[in-house]
């Protein structure tokens, strides 16, 4: 049985202009030990998807469709039942470790909290376990630093502490929402490798959300590319980056300045015309229509279906539909 099975997930958000669809018909399946990356720009619905998985949507937002964690349906579950799952069988690592950690509690207490809450460990047992967890995520001398407060650690160490908290109860599903965006490039790789190592060791399923194509390309097995609330391309990471079937994926990749690239130092970067549309003003057809260099009249008519390109690689574009 897959750890996570999401089908036709649709999220509606209340705005000044009424309810708008922020995520549209999202499907994904994730087995034990698998890693999935979601790429997209701000407002594409990637973080909302993560919050929906955790049952943490903002007030007034409505999720419909189905989210199953090891077969258990999460949509429609009450808060008490969700609290029992969160931090226990599914956990999340957020972007900003400084705002995730509580500045007035020692880190030992924060890492031990889920253990006491979900596994009913005594204070002493939880403390011993917290030391082991902090050592596993690479906090040197964890035993001596258990009573230190978050401000006494550097940014990278704080993110390690957040990961230790998320791992405390051995969750089946770990969601990391831009876990390295607030960190330096040299730390980024260490944290991502730590996550990859933990996934391999504990057989968790990992959902990694990022706006950075490089991070996704290097660290996950499967990739979803989201735009305007819709998954425009999905498939094994190798296949997605090799073929770049959707014009949006192509545009994203081309717009990225790269190190030691073939173009000259003063060449212009190819850009995607226009800007990310407001959710309330999404065009009725393909969300990328209008910004896409290949837009035709038919693009505005209806959302293209996901075309199967072989090996589980799909993309939503009418130009692929026409191809034999």
């Amino acid at each position: 049985m897959p750890v996570l099975e999401v089908s036709r997930l649709t999220i509606a958000l209340p705005t000044a202009r009424g309810m708008v669809q922020a995520v549209h018909d999202l499907d994904l399946t994730l087995a034990r030990g698998q890693t999935l990356g979601i790429i997209g720009e701000s407002g594409c619905g990637k973080s909302l998807t993560a919050l929906a998985l955790m049952g943490l949507l903002p007030d007034g937002a409505r999720a419909s469709g189905s989210i199953r964690l090891c077969g258990q349906e999460l949509i429609g579950l009450d808060d008490a039942a969700l609290c029992h799952l969160r931090g226990n069988r599914m956990a999340m690592v957020f972007q900003e470790p400084m705002t995730t950690l509580n500045p007035v509690h020692s880190i030992g207490r924060q890492v031990a909290e889920p253990l006491r809450l979900h596994q009913g460990l005594s204070a002493r047992q939880a403390r011993a376990q917290a030391v082991a967890l902090l050592e596993r995520v690479g906090i040197a001398g964890a035993g001596a630093r258990l009573d230190a407060y978050p401000h006494q650690f550097s940014g990278g160490q704080r993110q390690r502490i957040c990961i230790a908290m998320a791992l405390a109860c051995g969750p089946e599903l770990l969601i990391a929402d831009e876990p390295t965006t607030a960190l330096d490039v040299t730390l980024q790789r260490q944290i991502l490798q730590l996550l990859a190592g933990l996934v391999a060791e504990q057989g968790m399923a990992l959902v990694l959300i990022s706006h950075d194509l490089g991070v996704i390309a290097e660290h996950v097995q499967h990739t979803l590319v989201m735009y305007g609330g819709t998954v425009v391309e999905a498939g094994p990471t190798q296949a997605v980056f090799a073929r770049l079937a959707h014009p949006y994926t192509q545009g994203l990749l081309a717009a990225r300045p790269h190190l030691g690239g073939t173009r000259g130092a003063h060449a212009r970067l190819p850009t995607i015309a226009g800007s990310v549309p407001e959710l309330a003003q999404l065009p009725p057809g393909c969300p990328f229509a209008g910004r896409c260099p290949h837009t035709e009249d038919a693009c505005h008519a209806a959302l293209p279906r996901a075309v199967e390109l072989g090996g589980g690689h799909t993309a939503r574009c009418i130009r692929l539909q026409d191809a034999p």
Partner: protein, 283 residues
């Protein structure tokens, strides 16, 4: 049009001194050091010092671009603040157009500020939400004694240069997207026709597709106006795309410098090597 010309003439007169120094660099930084005093650890003990920047030297020629890379805490932003004369260095000098910015009297410094302007990282924090865009963009001109009419004309011109419409001058910052806000911040920096723009992480708060638009804009403006650019970034790819020369800062010292090509194909300092290796690559 005459109004615009008269400001342009003013601008020429302040930079006249720079013309005499055309053989030397536009910006000369020598032995620049800065330390911050930390809170006392003991009641009567001395305040510990944190050396943020240590003996930094560089020259930036007119019309060239210099990138500064380094991790957080390496002193990049301290360097930007010292070059912008927002902080006083503990030692060393910053000379722009031959004038030592940190020795100028307050009034002269204020007048000199038209020659160097800054673009900040977060366009959500750097624009006053209560002011209309036209006023935000024209603000650098207020201290220079431009009339209201001149301010309007120059603001409209600067907005047009960054690809915004003249009608946008009447809107408030919240009506714009992140990329558009960064364009407004760039328009504000351009309005006084500076010789140097200091940009501290100008695209790191922006989405990938918008980041490319802003990088292209900075490059076009630099080429059109012959401005110099001091670009501070943690992103090697951004720096190597836009800059002629790169400084690598590590713990407040320049550990390596060179053209992006040299630096990234054969990095010599271990920190540069770590940086180049850490940059994510696509498959």
């Amino acid at each position: 049009m005459t109004a615009i010309n008269s400001i342009a003439v003013d601008a020429f007169s302040t930079s006249a001194e720079g013309q005499n120094h055309s053989d030397t660099a536009l910006l000369q930084v020598r032995g620049l050091s800065h330390h911050y005093s930390l809170p006392r650890t003991r009641l009567l003990g001395p305040r510990p010092r944190l050396a943020a920047l240590h003996g930094v030297d560089f020259d930036l020629q007119a019309g060239r671009s210099l990138g500064v890379v380094g991790e957080s805490g390496s002193g990049k932003s301290t360097l930007a603040r010292l070059v912008m004369a927002l902080d006083t260095p503990s030692a060393g000098s910053v000379r722009l157009l031959g004038r030592d910015l940190h020795r100028l009297p307050a009034a002269a410094l204020r007048a000199a500020r038209r020659d160097f302007q800054m673009v900040f990282q977060d366009p959500y924090a750097s624009l006053d939400p209560r002011q209309r865009v036209g006023r935000i963009v024209a603000e650098p001109l207020q201290t220079l004694g431009a009339t209201r009419q001149q301010q309007h004309e120059r603001a409209a011109q600067a907005l047009a240069e960054v690809g915004l419409r003249a009608g946008d001058a009447h809107k408030y910052p919240h009506e714009f997207s992140g990329g558009q806000r960064q364009r407004i911040a760039i328009a504000r920096a351009l309005v006084s026709r500076p010789r140097l723009i200091v940009a501290d992480e100008p695209v790191s708060a922006l989405d990938v597709s918008v980041q490319a638009q802003v990088l292209n804009l900075l490059q076009d403006l630099q080429q059109q106006h012959g401005m110099s650019l001091l670009l501070i970034s943690h992103d090697l790819a951004v720096v190597s795309h836009l800059c002629d020369e790169v400084l690598v800062l590590y713990q407040g010292r320049v550990v390596e410098r060179g053209t992006p090509g040299q630096l990234f194909s054969s990095p010599r300092h271990p920190y540069t090597q770590a940086l180049v290796q850490a940059a994510p690559r696509l498959l």
